[in-house]
Symmetry: C2
Subunit: 195 residues, 2 copies
């Protein structure tokens, strides 16, 4: 491949493929360079370290996994509908990822565990989206004023951990999972609405 044509996206694509094929324990920058037909020095000109490359691959995966969420958060529906739909979108996106490509999901579960700062930032971003919906609900008076939106968002995110934390992925294909999820969101919405 001509080095001039090399884009960050191409490197990340190749790195994801290498991670999937060799596993996160074995994949190296040299493997990524080889897959691209360039020297590892070239890859290092884009990413200063193996850790930086892995973090960028993880970030890209998370962004892709949650691409639909900002639009749901900012949608035209009522805050209650949007809150339910946002949580549903997050749960279904994760579930789809693990069912469609369990190996890649397992790979990313390892990567996510090694990037705690990145994950904290990502979680904050998601909780901010939730907080935005809750803040509107508080303004409209459809949610009761029982705390600040960020705290409530944090609690709703923790309460639904079972349906977005990769540690629980094996339970998402249980026959009762979708029903449990809907019942949980119902209970949380009643709690938010209660005066």
């Amino acid at each position: 491949m001509a080095e001039a044509a090399l884009s960050t996206e191409q490197i990340l694509e190749a790195a994801e493929d290498v991670l999937r094929r060799f596993g996160p324990a074995k994949a190296t920058v040299v493997d990524v360079a080889r897959a691209l037909g360039v020297s590892h020095g070239t890859v290092y000109r884009y990413f200063p370290s193996k850790a930086a490359l892995r973090a960028a691959v993880t970030q890209r995966w998370l962004d892709r996994a949650h691409a639909e969420l900002p639009a749901v958060a900012a949608g035209p529906q009522s805050p209650e509908v949007r809150l339910r739909s946002w949580l549903e979108t997050l749960y279904q996106a994760k579930k789809r990822k693990v069912l469609d490509d369990p190996e890649l999901f397992a790979t990313y579960s390892v990567l996510v565990d090694e990037s705690s700062a990145l994950i904290d930032e990502h979680r904050t971003e998601l909780e901010n989206q939730l907080a935005g919906i809750i803040a509107e609900g508080l303004e409209d008076g459809v949610f009761a004023d029982a705390g600040d939106p960020l705290t409530l968002a944090h609690i709703v995110f923790q309460a639904t951990a079972r349906f977005h934390d990769p540690a629980y992925a094996p339970t998402w294909s249980a026959p009762s999972a979708d029903q449990d999820f809907a019942a949980l969101v119902g209970l949380l919405l009643r709690g938010l609405a209660a005066h």
Copy 2:
């Protein structure tokens, strides 16, 4: 030790000690027998297999960890107070276990993972206690009739997983954990009470 004096409790005690010292991967029935000064045949007269012995040790640990819960569930307070107190007792008992003896806690986390039937049974027992409290709240009219008690108990148990699932033990010593827990229980109680 005279074999006549050997009680099930003594074997379980010795097995817990052996598991803690050697780790769940290495501990054997022979180690347990040696610690008691008896033959391994003697231990097998009480427990037909290594798996049966490990399951009994796990059961004993779970029973001990949750010994206070039935009394809280059956207490004289109102259903709301008891629900909060039951969840708080469960969370604090787990938290104390992991902080007091992290090694033993880690050992039991491994044992728990290998005894899924036992854990299912144990979780059902806990959810039944919760359901009893919720059923009384529904009868008294302090909780809204938004589902059957067992389903609601199951949802409340899932929503609070972060505060009793050993997978989350590392987060329990975070400065915000107790506050997050109280806020979550508050939200769930508002949800249960909402008409």
